[in-house]
């Protein structure tokens, strides 16, 4: 579904990604793990068209999307929950959800909002409050809900666990898994390697802008090098 080929990117004159290749199949849940500054966010931003690639190509369903602008990437139903959630803090929860459906013109938007409220009942209670006043976990729910409102084919998540209490992280990841069960393809970028490897099918390891390892998540979880570098064992 998504194919990244020999992608290189600079971030402020520094090489952020060099010769990165990876692929994600339809219906898969794949993660990219790596330390802070490894280039994970740059990769997601480049896929979404927020950052320019220097070399290489990105294909989505066979179409070359490397040079597309971000709003055209969004039209292909590639949805990203950016680092730090990217909520519209001084808009209400419901306004945030509606903006998730910005590109839609169908009549199911109201239904979908109600489905989000069923999934996260607390959001219904807070639907008219500013998104910026919610707790971190609730904000992450708004971010997930807003992303779902776009009916994504491919969902990109940048550090969904960042800044959240472990119990909230568990809830968020449960929601993410249920999305996959509904057929959404998911690509998660995470610093928390243990968490990422335990919920995904496959994973890539990014180090200093290069893919250094890849494989089945379960196997990576047992790999000595991964254990040493990322699992603190």
């Amino acid at each position: 579904m998504l194919r990244v080929e020999n992608l290189s990117c600079n971030y402020k004159q520094i090489i952020a990604l060099s010769d990165v290749s990876l692929h994600i199949n339809r219906g898969e849940i794949v993660s990219l793990i790596g330390a802070n500054g490894a280039g994970k966010t740059t990769l997601l931003r480049t896929i979404s068209g927020l950052h320019n690639a220097k070399n290489g190509n990105i294909f989505f369903e066979g179409q070359d999307i490397t040079k597309l602008e971000s709003h055209d990437v969004a039209k292909l139903a590639i949805t990203q929950i950016p680092e730090g959630r990217g909520l519209f803090s001084i808009l209400s929860v419901e306004e945030n959800l509606r903006l998730g459906a910005y590109l839609r013109a169908d009549s199911d938007i109201e239904d979908d909002i109600n489905k989000i409220y069923e999934k996260f009942p607390i959001l219904k209670e807070k639907s008219h409050e500013y998104a910026g006043t919610l707790s971190g976990g609730q904000q992450q729910m708004v971010a997930v809900g807003r992303a779902l409102m776009s009916r994504p084919k491919l969902l990109l998540l940048d550090e969904p666990s960042m800044g959240l209490a472990p119990i909230v992280v568990e809830e968020i990841f449960k929601a993410i898994k249920s999305l996959r069960d509904n057929g959404t393809t998911i690509f998660i970028v995470e610093q928390n390697a243990f968490l990422a490897l335990s919920v995904t099918d496959r994973a890539y390891v990014l180090e200093n802008g290069k893919i250094v390892m890849s494989g089945n998540s379960g196997e990576l979880l047992k790999d000595e090098k991964v254990k040493e570098a990322y699992l603190g064992a």
């Binding site: 971000s70 709003h71 950016p82 990217g86 909520l87 519209f88 808009l91 590109l103």
Partner: protein
């Protein structure tokens, strides 16, 4: 007491025009981070175009609407210039707007002339007698139109998809792009909208204060002061800022001397920046990183 009431009325009238100019500053600043110093020239373009279209024999309503359209087009031209130099720093872009303002002034001098122009009031020269002081029909028109614009803007930002997209883009531009919002289109609408609102202010004010090619300098700075007083974040803060400024000016001109009138805006501007940098409502806009 009657005197005071009269000063307040004329202060509110001109204050609404400052507010309209100030709204333009905040709308563009919110979406692009740029202070547009051509804002005053948009006011001038609105007033001068209407005067000359009237002279060419067009009816008032048609001239008014054409003037707004012309000014909106000028706003879009400015946006195109800014978009063209997209890799420049914000300071360079702000200087670009200053240069554009000087260009517009020069253009107005060549296309029109250097004379002072006025035009008849839209609603006749009549006035109400209000507790011993007069309230002209034109003043009432300015207040009503300004209030209608502010209310319409509120509903536009709150209830329409484009308005919400504009809000989203001003809060978090990258997240807005990820929602599929075409940021370039939104910015262009912002520039056109700011120009349109400023030009309406320019047309409404012309029967009261007259206009010429350089009237935009002072009106632009007053509008800027209104936006800063209101906290440079919310269009509605700019409305409050404009009213405060208009009333202060009118009181100083009435009770002290009209020579100090223009100083009020700048003293108020400095005082706000020194003592209340977040504006009279104390909002501080988070830095976008």
């Amino acid at each position: 007491m009657i005197e005071l009431f009269g000063f307040l009325l004329s202060g509110v009238t001109v204050g609404f025009v400052y507010a309209l100019v100030g709204i333009g500053f905040t709308v563009i600043y919110n979406s692009s981070g740029i202070i547009n110093f051509s804002q005053g020239e948009f006011v001038m373009a609105g007033g001068m175009s209407t005067v000359f279209l009237l002279k060419a024999g067009l009816p008032l309503g048609v001239s008014f609407i054409l003037a707004i359209l012309i000014t909106s087009m000028i706003g879009i031209v400015l946006y195109k210039l800014i978009a063209f130099s997209k890799n420049s720093s914000q300071i360079s872009l702000i200087i670009l707007t200053l240069g554009f303002a000087i260009f517009l002034r020069g253009l107005a001098e060549v296309v029109f002339d250097k004379e002072l122009h006025t035009m008849p009031s839209f609603v006749g020269d009549g006035a109400f007698d209000m507790f011993g002081t007069v309230l002209t029909y034109q003043s009432i028109l300015i207040m009503v139109v300004s209030i209608v614009i502010v209310v319409a803007l509120y509903f536009f930002f709150k209830k329409t998809k484009t308005g919400q997209a504009m809000m989203a883009a001003s809060i978090n531009v990258d997240a807005a792009k990820l929602m599929g919002i075409n940021i370039k289109k939104i910015l262009m609408i912002n520039f056109a909208l700011s120009a349109a609102i400023a030009s309406i202010g320019g047309v409404l004010l012309t029967p009261i204060t007259s206009t010429n090619y350089e009237v935009g300098i002072m009106l632009g700075l007053k509008g800027f002061a209104a936006a800063i007083i209101g906290g440079l974040g919310s269009p509605f803060g700019a409305v409050a800022g404009g009213l405060v400024l208009g009333i202060l000016e009118s009181l100083i001109a009435g009770y002290v001397s009209s020579e100090y009138k223009d100083a009020v805006a700048f003293v108020a501007l400095l005082a706000i920046l020194f003592f209340m940098p977040g504006g009279i409502f104390g909002n501080t806009k988070a830095q976008r990183v």
